[in-house]
């Protein structure tokens, strides 16, 4: 018993000899280990590929998430109402009411299922108010991209909006004092509506359905009193001016005065255009914003009509003055970043709410700005929203940077891998590559040394003492000159399926525009053909042949970007004639 086995039986083999390290056994047994695998495939483990994909998807999903969150963190509308000076109506689940006695009150509306307030809040005389009990969805962004669209397009949009029942929500009537709510009516308000309650006239309720281009009238108890929808395009809101009821027809730049004597609500009385004439003349003079395409709000104050006109995408709002006949007077200058939204005549002043800063500007009749009214709660909210916005902007920027870095890094690594591969497999391009050894007329052919060989395909480990290992003659003729076929052994074949990597594919796609040779594909295909030949040769060798004659190639594309290359021929044993 050998030394090492004195204390343990496990390390001994069945002959009682010490086990030797494996590689030693191989050497002693004179077995030829497999030739080192050529780094032919540069194949990526599917798991690694999955990892890379996930690595790239991660920042992209973060990006998508952050962008979505950022768009949610937008400051909503700042409405002005007569009996409650300011309302902050945001995609937040609370409502802020500035009451006339300078105190502020916050309602938590999430209790009653109201999570966004896209329209306004209207007050009845008895401390009740009406809100739309909507879900968490924003309205369609498509509304904003309707730049100066024709009637067919806005009609299409109107239908799309009207069809989307998910964006309709019931009106809810709440009480300010008791903080209790109940459904007001079975009618569902669409996205983007405005409520107007006519305190001078029995608290009649008018609902401006912006996206449905109509106005509905209800009594305070919820009875339907009428509808007006004649030729309106996105009516913004309804106002009462010295006994006359008018609506702002956003897309037509006009104010439509309605006759309203209960039963004849649906009758059209007169109209006043604000802006359309001015656009051409004043745009050339440079005083009027030519992009002003929408009229958001208009009130009569002093001897002028004051109108907020917005440009494309409902941004670039400006405050304009018109005379009583609708002729453009001038543009009222506001702070640089100001986005005027809502107008209100209140105690002899004009109040203009600003969406960007969350303040209310106070104007006198001659157009001088007197003060800025600010509400602490609104300020807090606006700064919170802005912080949120900046936070998500930071995330977006960071992830974008990471993505760019990863992309560049991936490109560099890919190029490196490709270069390394090319260095290791120089025969890739047949034009410059080494010649196959069998082309040398002086080199002896491979000699299979075993006599009888059972057909164990590709079991190259059984071959002992190889000579001229690579020199198997390959030829595509049947009769090899100067040689005699001593034994026909059989058909051998080798095939490979290759796909090119995405980068090369894109580059090749670009090349498709200019035409010309796609050298990366040429290389790839000749490389894979070499691989197919190698496999065929190995097979031929394993069955004891020293030549493959009558070789044929066949190429077929089996899928987009992947092709199979097959080489087949007859394995024979050649001898000199």
């Amino acid at each position: 018993m050998a030394e090492c086995c004195r204390f343990s039986v496990e390390c001994c083999d069945i002959w009682g000899q010490c086990k030797k390290p494996k590689n030693l056994i191989l050497e002693l047994g004179n077995l030829v280990t497999k030739p080192p695998k050529k780094n032919m495939n540069k194949e990526i483990n599917p798991l690694v590929a999955l990892g890379i994909i996930i690595l790239f998807l991660l920042p992209i999903s973060v990006l998508v998430w952050a962008t979505g969150e950022q768009s949610n963190a937008r400051v909503g509308a700042y409405y002005l109402e007569q009996d409650a000076l300011g309302q902050l109506s945001l995609q937040a689940d609370h409502l802020l009411v500035t009451q006339s006695d300078d105190s502020e009150q916050v309602f938590d509306l999430s209790r009653v299922g109201v999570s966004d307030l896209m329209g306004n809040v209207a007050y009845l005389s008895n401390n009740d108010f009406l809100v739309r009990g909507g879900g968490a969805e924003w309205g369609p962004v498509a509304y904003f991209s309707l730049r100066g669209a024709g009637d067919t397009e806005s009609e299409k949009l109107r239908q799309a909006l009207a069809d989307n029942t998910a964006q309709e929500a019931p009106l809810i009537r709440c009480n300010r004092m008791t903080e209790t709510c109940s459904a007001f009516h079975d009618f569902r308000a669409p996205w983007r509506y405005r409520l107007f309650i006519d305190h001078a006239n029995n608290d009649d309720i008018y609902l401006t359905q912006n996206t449905l281009h109509s106005i509905k009238k209800f009594s305070v108890t919820g009875d339907r009193l009428g509808t007006y929808d004649n030729g309106l395009k996105f009516p913004k809101r309804l106002r009462r001016q010295q006994g006359e009821l008018y609506t702002i027809d956003t897309n037509h730049h006009r104010l439509v005065f309605l006759k309203d004597e209960n039963s004849v609500f649906a009758e059209f009385q007169t109209e006043l255009y604000v802006a359309p004439d001015a656009i051409e003349t004043e745009a050339s003079a440079g005083t009027f914003n030519p992009a002003a395409k929408w009229t958001v709000d208009a009130v009569l104050f002093g001897n002028y009509w004051w109108a907020v006109n917005a440009g494309d995408d409902m941004i670039d709002e400006e405050l304009h003055r018109f005379d009583l006949k609708g002729n453009f007077i001038d543009r009222v200058s506001l702070a640089d970043e100001a986005r005027p939204f809502d107008l209100l005549v209140w105690q002899g002043h004009l109040l203009v709410s600003d969406l960007a800063r969350g303040v209310v500007y106070q104007f006198d009749e001659s157009g001088n700005q007197l003060t800025e009214l600010q509400s602490p709660a609104i300020n807090t909210h606006f700064s919170e929203v802005r912080e949120q916005h900046d936070y998500y902007q930071l995330i977006v920027n960071l992830t974008l940077g990471v993505l760019v870095l990863m992309f560049v890094g991936g490109l560099i690594v890919g190029l490196q891998v490709g270069r390394k591969h090319d260095k290791e497999n120089p025969h890739g391009n047949s034009a410059q590559g080494d010649l196959p050894t069998y082309l040398s007329p002086t080199l002896a052919l491979y000699k299979p040394t075993f006599e009888k060989q059972t057909f164990t395909l590709a079991s190259s480990s059984t071959i002992t003492r190889e000579q001229n290992m690579d020199n198997i003659l390959i030829s595509n003729i049947e009769v090899v000159p100067g040689k005699r076929v001593s034994e026909h052994i059989g058909l051998v074949q080798g095939s490979t399926v290759r796909a090119k990597h995405a980068g090369k594919d894109i580059l090749a796609g670009l090349k498709n525009i200019f035409g010309g040779e796609l050298s990366s594909y040429t290389e790839l295909l000749s490389e894979s053909r070499q691989e197919a030949i190698d496999r065929m040769t190995a097979q031929a060798k394993s069955i004891g042949a020293n030549a493959v004659i009558n070789v044929r190639f066949s190429t077929s594309s089996i899928a987009a970007g992947a092709s199979e290359i097959l080489a087949y021929g007859t394995a024979v044993l050649l001898e000199d004639r």
Partner: protein, 152 residues
């Protein structure tokens, strides 16, 4: 606006294809002619059996391949032509170039091996998919044959 943009892209691609494609083709033909002249003394046949004077030669397979792509201009003109039928000259010249280039590569390999002739030459043409299956996209031409090399 969108349509205008698309037309613009189309025109730009067409122009790029026209100029670069024409230039590439002219240059390629020039180089093919020069190289073909250099290879004149190499016999290439499609005979299956070696001629009698080569019976003592050593033999082995040589091959050459090329992947070539059609330019945008040619694709469009060929598309127009296929409406009325007839010869697609655009594709003819493309395939001609590819085949001659592949032959030249095979000849080059044989030349370096010191061959005197190539027999049993086979030419195989294969379309490489990956061009969204429209148009002819890119094609591979493979040429292979058996080179006959004199024994020293």
């Amino acid at each position: 606006m969108d349509a205008l943009f698309q037309v613009g892209i189309f025109v730009v691609l067409l122009g790029l294809g026209f100029f670069f494609g024409r230039r590439a083709e002219r240059k390629h033909y020039a180089s093919i002619l020069v190289r073909e002249d250099e290879m004149r003394d190499l016999v290439i046949t499609t005979d299956r059996f070696p001629p009698s004077e080569f019976l003592k030669h050593h033999s082995g397979m040589v091959s050459g391949n090329v992947v070539i792509s059609v330019d945008y201009f040619k694709m469009v003109t060929a598309g127009l032509r296929s409406l009325v039928g007839g010869r697609l000259k655009a594709y003819e010249s493309l395939l001609d170039r590819a085949r001659r280039e592949a032959l030249l590569r095979m000849q080059d390999q044989a030349n370096r091996a010191g061959a005197e002739a190539i027999i049993n030459t086979k030419i195989e043409t294969c379309r490489i998919s990956g061009n969204a299956n429209k148009g002819i996209g890119s094609i591979e031409v493979l040429v292979y044959g058996t080179a006959l090399i004199p024994k020293k």
